[in-house]
């Protein structure tokens, strides 16, 4: 055994040492440097050009709504996604088909259309049924409901994949110890599934942050709407949209680096 082992090792060692020096340049995240350079350039323009600085000051207050909408919608869509995702893998055919119907419905309609539909058709219908005056539901709330329902379907698919990725033997081991299906799900399958889906959830958080820009459809004053309002009165399109791009890109860059970090940590553990 030692003979071939030794040979393999030295070969592998050589393979690691030699091209490693060459591939170190290839492995550098050049794209990251490029993005950082673009962001730095934008930052310099915003800091030095008065008109860009003014646009920045006008637009930046919208960030509280952008972040707020994103956080609330994310929490709500995880709750919806968990329920629908578990429904998706349920053995009960009624529950399973209800979950599939919801997921496929959402996936089959453009997000923009869903937001308009939920904000202007579903919510008014719902408030009629509940006896609430329609104008008592603020546009921000309608938008959060819409985003949560849409992302709930996406996140349901993430949870489904996570549950299905847990080996079948885990459920069998739990059941053969006398645990019920629900107990095994809760104590054995879900903790493992959630761990594997964390990076995917992180990526959906980033998508959700970007899609929160659709708030402008309902006139909700997030970053995007603030920028559009500013162009309407000042006609400074260059300034408004450069600032807007700068803000979204810096947020998503930080978040995607965090997700990569998380992925690396989970991969090791």
């Amino acid at each position: 055994m030692t003979g071939p082992d030794h040979g393999d090792l030295s070969e592998a060692g050589a393979a690691i040492v030699e091209p490693a020096r060459r591939s170190s340049v290839r492995d550098l995240p050049l794209w990251l440097f490029a993005i950082l350079a673009i962001l730095a350039l934008m930052a310099v323009v915003i800091a030095t050009e008065a008109s860009f600085g003014e646009a920045f000051e006008v637009i930046i207050p919208g960030i509280s709504l952008t972040v707020g909408i994103t956080l609330v919608s994310f929490v709500a869509s995880i709750a919806i996604g968990l329920v629908a995702g578990l429904g998706r893998v349920s053995r009960n055919i009624v529950i399973r088909n209800l979950a599939i119907t919801y997921i496929e419905f959402i996936r089959g309609v453009p997000i923009v259309v869903l937001i308009l539909m939920i904000a202007f058709v579903v919510v008014p219908a719902g408030s009629r049924i509940l006896g609430i005056p329609n104008n008592a539901v603020p546009q921000e709330t309608r938008f959060i409901i819409a985003l949560s329902v849409i992302y709930g379907a996406f996140i349901a698919e993430i949870f489904r994949a996570g549950v299905e990725a847990v080996p079948k033997g885990q459920m069998e081991a739990g059941r053969s110890l006398g645990l019920t299906h629900a107990q095994t799900m809760r104590s054995i399958i879900l903790p493992q599934a959630i761990r594997t889906v964390l990076p995917a959830l992180g990526n959906d958080f980033i998508s959700l942050l970007k899609d929160s820009a659709l708030a402008t459809l309902l006139g909700v004053r997030d970053l995007t709407q603030s920028a559009r309002l500013y162009t309407g009165s000042s006609f400074r399109f260059d300034e408004a949209f450069l600032v807007l791009t700068f803000l979204y890109l810096s947020m998503t860059l930080v978040l995607s680096l965090l997700v990569q970090q998380l992925q690396r940590r989970l991969g090791r553990g």
Partner: protein
């Protein structure tokens, strides 16, 4: 299911009775009309080539597989009966898998205490005391705080055995417990199983370990193509295999 079929005669010593069991997966007939009695305190070893249906028979014994027809009784209780609460039966039936199936996100100790607490309703302290006693029994109490992934295959399988034993089962099922192990780890697992057999545990073992079958087995069942082709006292089957298929099988693997 087989409600209409006549109930077989079940004696006080019959821990498990398999009655005219058939199981198919799609168009594949995995098990064809298998009947078997497992008496209390015996060690039954089921052997046979792969695909002969031996694991399927074993998995039907705690309803991980539901029979297509026929029935399995444990202590006289029909597993396929609508009134049977399968969770109550399974807590009395230990199962050890080829791939161990330990819970990777829990410590060794928590692997064992989980069902004690959730199924048996034991307190944390009680459960941990039981778990430590079982880890002592399989010889690895010092691994209690580790995660399964940090253990060798042999140690993991011993944890899996300890996890089942902690539930104080009336019968233990082993599904090729050493097939996924490196050769040098097989013995440590077989030693634990031998000790268990000596303590009087009723065991059903699907295995290719002929040495174990010969030394520890009291009863031997030879399966081929979904049927039992020969069964009897382990020594007899070994010394004087009757069926040509059994002779051929032994000549190939011994």
């Amino acid at each position: 299911m087989a409600e209409s079929a006549a109930r077989p005669e079940i004696g006080p010593d019959d821990r498990i009775v398999v009655d005219h069991l058939w199981k198919s997966f799609g168009t594949i007939q995995a098990v064809r009309d298998v009947s078997l009695r497992i008496r209390t305190g015996t060690v039954t070893v089921i052997v046979g080539p792969s695909g002969s249906g031996k694991s399927t028979v074993l998995r039907c014994m705690n309803h991980l597989e539901v029979p297509t027809s026929g029935a399995v009784y444990i202590d006289g209780v029909h597993l396929g009966d609508r009134r049977t609460n399968i969770n109550l039966i399974r807590r009395e039936v230990g199962m050890v898998f080829q791939q161990f199936n330990l819970f990777p996100h829990l410590s060794v100790l928590d692997n064992i205490t989980l069902a004690l607490r959730k199924v048996r309703g034991r307190s944390k302290t009680e459960a941990e005391a039981i778990a430590m006693a079982q880890l002592q029994r399989v010889g690895i109490p010092e691994q209690a705080r580790k995660r399964p992934g940090q253990l060798s295959g042999g140690q993991q399988q011993r944890v899996a055995i300890a996890r089942s034993l902690a539930m104080n089962p009336r019968v233990m099922l082993f599904d090729e417990p050493t097939s996924a192990l490196d050769p040098e780890m097989i013995k440590e697992v077989l030693d634990v199983m031998q000790e268990l057999a000596a303590s009087g545990m009723t065991m059903v073992v699907v295995s290719h370990e002929m040495g174990f079958a010969r030394q520890v087995g009291s009863h031997m069942v030879m399966m081929d193509q979904g049927r039992i082709v020969e069964e009897g006292a382990a020594e007899d089957v070994f010394a004087r295999p009757q069926h040509p298929r059994t002779k051929e099988f032994f000549s190939k693997i011994l």
